[in-house]
């Protein structure tokens, strides 16, 4: 899974800490989300997308299974 969180974060000038506070999670969670190393729950994905004024589809890119 790839994400565009970093890109959207830069767009709104948010730091990882700002986004973490907005969503109510720890900073490491945002870091791992950005790296694509954490599969969030639907609720967290929704909250992050909402904080970055976008949609889940725009934010998370799921690679097709081979």
């Amino acid at each position: 899974m790839k994400t565009r969180i970093k890109e959207f974060r830069a767009k709104y000038n948010f730091t990882q800490e700002d986004l973490a506070r907005k969503v109510g999670v720890r900073r490491e969670t945002i870091l791992f989300l950005e790296k694509g190393k954490y599969n969030p729950s639907l609720k967290l994905a929704h909250d992050v997308a909402r904080a970055l004024k976008t949609t889940i589809d725009e934010l998370f890119i799921f690679e097709k299974r081979k």
Binding site: G24, R26, R27, T29, F32, P40
Partner: protein
């Protein structure tokens, strides 16, 4: 606000439990040394120090995050905790089995409490190791 209060209570609980465990480990070591059981004493000291280091790390990290306005736990940290504790439990089943098999011939335990103490201590170390591992891995 509610979460902050919960986090403060949780931090205090962690501190109290850690202090109890360290005190117990120290007592265990002292009695082992007094009874002439050097290996048991050293194991107790090692376990107490490991738990102390882990508790200090958790306490400092939690305090720093609370001051910055982050929650002590979120869904990822809970997932890491769940994975680490289930894996530590799974591995420790084999450990208990091994202690059971080896206690008659290879390892001479002073008494049941010593064997249990060492098993619990190793379980705690296993948990810490798995926690550190899963905290860096993709989950």
């Amino acid at each position: 606000m509610k979460t902050k209060n919960k986090d403060k209570i949780r931090m205090s609980a962690i501190l109290i439990v850690s202090l109890f465990v360290i005190a117990t480990g120290t007592l265990f070591s002292l009695t082992s040394f007094m009874k002439g059981d050097i290996a048991g004493g050293v194991a107790g000291v090692f376990i107490a120090i490991t738990i102390l280091v882990f508790a200090i790390f958790v306490f400092i990290r939690g305090n720093r995050d609370m001051k910055k306005g982050f929650p002590l736990h979120d869904e990822r940290s809970r997932k890491v905790l769940e994975k680490a504790s289930s894996k530590a439990f799974y591995v420790s089943l084999y450990l208990l089995l091994a202690i059971g098999f080896l206690s008659d011939d290879l390892i001479k335990f002073r008494d049941v409490s010593q064997a249990t103490g060492i098993a619990v201590g190793v379980m705690a170390i296993l948990f810490a190791v798995f926690w550190a591992y899963y905290n860096r891995m993709e989950i």
